[in-house]
């Protein structure tokens, strides 16, 4: 790592059955990827609340990865289908609001796709690096740090 290069903070919201297992496989296969991404484990993408994504930006995340089972592979049969619909609506709304949707990478990574997980992580980190720190949002999140205002 080059010192004082911008190191994006990226949170990954992943399902337990496919992507979490896939990320485990990345480990067992010793495929290297960037440290910037940290995983939070959910039972299913269906469980991932859009508010949590919003919270992540609010708490200073520069990027977000949301990943689960491929269509038809959901351990719970349809959680990922419901999640996908939620994402479609959420994405449209964020886009209208000028919340940068390029900072959220959605993906399907199966338990067998260790290499794909590493690739998702690395490409996302590179992409967010290019976008730079999420200053727009930080400006809003940092409201209270500003001098007392009316």
């Amino acid at each position: 790592m080059i010192m004082n290069e911008f190191e994006p903070k990226i949170v990954a919201f992943v399902c337990n059955w496919c992507t979490y297992a896939g990320a485990d496989l990345t480990g067992t296969s010793r495929i290297k990827y960037a440290q910037n991404v940290k995983i939070i484990r959910f039972p299913c993408t269906g469980r991932i609340d859009f508010m949590l994504l919003l919270k992540a930006f609010g708490e200073g995340a520069d990027g977000i990865i949301v990943s689960g089972c491929h269509p038809n592979d959901c351990h719970y049969t349809s959680g990922n289908f419901h999640a996908r619909r939620r994402w479609i609506m959420f994405r449209g709304l964020l886009d209208l609001l000028g919340i940068d949707v390029r900072r959220i990478q959605y993906s399907w990574v199966s338990a067998a796709e260790g290499a794909k997980w590493a690739d998702i992580v690395n490409t996302t980190v590179t992409a967010i690096r290019e976008l730079g720190p999420y200053t727009d949002y930080a400006k809003v999140a940092g409201y209270l740090e500003k001098e007392a205002k009316v």
Partner: protein, 667 residues
């Protein structure tokens, strides 16, 4: 105020080589609510677990975070340890420092910092964990076995002999699978059918086994101990009760020239047929796609000749639902259509055949009654070439893996040829001879030494016809790589073993994972080779990966044992990760407003309604209610509930929220 213990595992050097575990433990110790923090070489080891137990007692820990390998690996281990020390097992969480950190990053401060962040995140989660108690669910002691090959047969017999009910379904008209097609078997050269058919009959006659041939799995719902399977019984167009299996219809059927699947296209069968003489059940089915009546609307010869009037042209597919407690997937494999190998001329030259076809030629029950005659003119080949690894170990052809059985059966084929054709010459082009297994190496030696099979280490570049001969151009890499050219009468390709067509869809129907080649995935490559990621579904045989018969049979027995273990309990205790609708003080009683959209979103129909009433029984409110028996804990309803009135134990709103907060707010 929570007292949390944090235990950092070195995992030998797996973690400590890249993560500064001492620093992680030290930083964890500084976290609010952490009462104890330490690191140890092997947390999962007995002394490791002892440390956790001791500290739970000594420090009165209210929560435990073990930072080690993936929770998918050792969560049960550590939760058990905690409960042994008197702490509710669900107060224990794991932070994945190995698969998600040390194994994927190089040693650096950033790696250690990530480890610290991951630990902090789980510490904050544990603060919101609450004691949970396993859910008890009944077990339906009937097993569904899918696939009637040797794997399915073995599994069925073992489960049935353990005293449990078995439903065995087979998509073809007869059980037996690939093994019934084989001639002799390595390394003993005993006749395949001689050892298989008795087992087939045993299945048919076993009181505990319900055999459904010509049937496929349509749908599988539910969960371990409580599956609901929907089976499609394809119309056989005969009344099995009336049919005596006399076979008259099959001899009288006017449509006779249909390539026989059983004989891999080397022989023919009629439209109403029994796949092979020893078939079980030995009753015919009508192949609607080729039957004159179904095609042209007239014929009905079979109906006329049938002495018992068992023919039923109007018969339709039937869907039967059944409750089963466990499922064994034994759907086997297939051989790759080597048409993908123009260089070998398969499909172009009649006398270039696959290994499986050779089995039929060599089989006493085969089209040539066991004589090795070439398909083109029925002549006995004087020179024969076997090409190993036709497709296998060939990333260019999309199959990087080794098909495992080819080395052995190719040696067997060559021997059979030498035994049957005196003075014949046989050549085997191979990459390596993989003869791992009891008496396997000895077997291939015999081929080379006793039967004088010519092994040529090298690949074949081209096979082409020249005045009635098949010219095989290859290279011998052992004798300083000189090109070789053989004028053969017949070429046999050891084509790769691949997953059955449709196995991907089947996996999806069963909700089990499968690998890049559509072979079903086991739960753990070493420690859970017969389990799948879906509890209650087990694997047997080549549907998981290419296997020979002994391996298949042992895995089948393994799967059967797993089923028997499952069925040895009357009740299962399930992880209590289920959704719950909240309760709040009167006059609200619950913040649920009863829109019931959670119910429409639930994949398990686990959400019903509950009427909240006052003492007089007047309905105050209609709210959603989760049936913990049906709920599988996906949490879709939780993310969906607008008023956050439904939450899921183990992944609660507060837990997930605090994880996000903690992950992004380093102290």
């Amino acid at each position: 105020m929570s007292k949390i213990g944090v235990f950092i595992c070195h995992c030998g050097e797996n973690i400590s080589a890249t993560v500064d575990v001492v620093k992680v433990a030290e930083e964890a110790g500084k976290l609010e609510g952490v009462a104890f923090s330490t690191d140890y070489k092997y947390m999962c080891s007995d002394p490791g677990q002892t440390i956790i137990k001791q500290m739970i007692k000594e420090k009165g820990l209210t929560g435990v975070v073990v930072a080690a390998c993936s929770p998918r690996m050792h969560e049960p281990t550590f939760r058990k340890a905690c409960s042994e020390a008197g702490l509710n097992p669900y107060m224990c969480e794991m932070s994945n420092l190995r698969e998600h950190c040390s194994w994927v990053h190089d040693k650096s401060d950033a790696t250690t910092q990530k480890a610290i962040d991951l630990v902090r995140t789980l510490v904050e989660k544990v603060k919101y964990n609450k004691p949970l108690h396993n859910i008890k669910v009944p077990v339906t002691k009937t097993a569904l076995v899918i696939g009637g090959g040797i794997a399915g047969i073995q599994a069925s017999l073992d489960i049935a002999n353990a005293g449990h009910q078995v439903v065995l379904i087979e998509k073809d008209p007869s059980i037996g699978g690939h093994m019934s097609q084989l001639s002799e078997t390595f390394p003993t050269l005993d006749c395949s059918q001689c050892i298989l058919t008795p087992r087939m009959v045993e299945v048919a006659q076993h009181p505990n086994i319900t055999l459904l041939t010509y049937a496929e799995l349509e749908k599988l719902e539910g969960f371990i101990g409580n599956f609901k399977a929907t089976i499609r019984k394809k119309a056989k167009s005969i009344d099995e009760k009336l049919c005596t299996g006399c076979g008259l219809c099959t001899t009288k059927c006017p449509t006779k020239k249909i390539p026989s699947e059983f004989n891999t296209g080397l022989g023919f069968r009629p439209a109403i047929y029994v796949p092979f003489p020893q078939a079980v059940p030995n009753k015919p089915v009508i192949d609607k796609l080729n039957c004159q009546y179904y095609l042209k609307g007239k014929c009905k010869v079979c109906e006329k000749v049938c002495p018992t009037g068992a023919i039923r042209f109007d018969q339709e597919d039937e869907l039967v639902e059944m409750e089963v407690g466990a499922v064994v997937a034994a759907t086997g494999f297939n051989v790759m259509e080597p048409s993908g190998f123009p260089e070998y001329g398969y499909g172009k030259y009649k006398d270039v055949i696959t290994g499986l076809q050779f089995e039929r030629l060599a089989s006493a029950s085969g089209p040539t009654l066991g004589e090795i005659r070439r398909p083109s003119d029925g002549a006995i080949p004087k020179k024969i070439v076997f090409i190993a690894c036709a497709g296998s170990r060939d990333p260019a052809k999309g199959i990087p893996y080794c098909s495992k059985i080819c080395c052995m059966y190719t040696a067997k084929h060559a021997m059979l040829y030498q035994h049957k054709v005196h003075g014949g010459e046989s050549y085997i082009f191979y990459m390596d001879i993989r003869a791992g297994g009891k008496n396997y190496e000895e077997f291939t030696r015999r081929a080379i030494v006793d039967d004088e099979v010519n092994y040529i280490r090298g690949r074949v570049s081209k096979v082409y016809e020249e005045n009635g001969k098949l010219i095989v151009k290859g290279v011998d890499t052992l004798l300083n790589a000189k090109p070789v050219e053989i004028e053969a009468d017949m070429v046999v390709l050891a084509s790769a073993a691949v997953a059955n067509p449709g196995s991907e869809e089947l996996a999806q129907r069963m909700h089990i994972s499968y690998d890049a080649y559509n072979f079903f995935s086991e739960a753990h490559p070493k420690l859970k080779p017969v389990e799948t990621n879906t509890a209650g579904i087990f694997l047997a045989g080549a549907c998981q990966a290419p296997k020979d018969i002994p391996e298949t049979v042992s895995q089948a027995s393994g799967a059967a044992a797993k089923v028997a273990i499952l069925f040895s309990q009357n009740e299962l205790s399930r992880e209590p990760v289920v959704a719950v609708v909240n309760r709040s003080p009167a006059p609200l009683y619950s913040t649920c407003v009863g829109c019931f959209m959670c119910a429409t979103a639930c994949p398990y129909q686990a959400i019903g309604e509950e009427l909240i009433t006052d003492r007089k029984g007047n309905v105050i409110k209609r709210v959603a209610k989760v049936n913990p028996g049906l709920c599988q804990g996906c949490g879709t309803c939780v993310a969906f509930c607008r008023s956050k009135s439904i939450d899921i134990d183990g992944y609660s709103n507060e837990q997930m929220y605090s994880e996000v907060m903690a992950l992004l707010n380093a102290e």
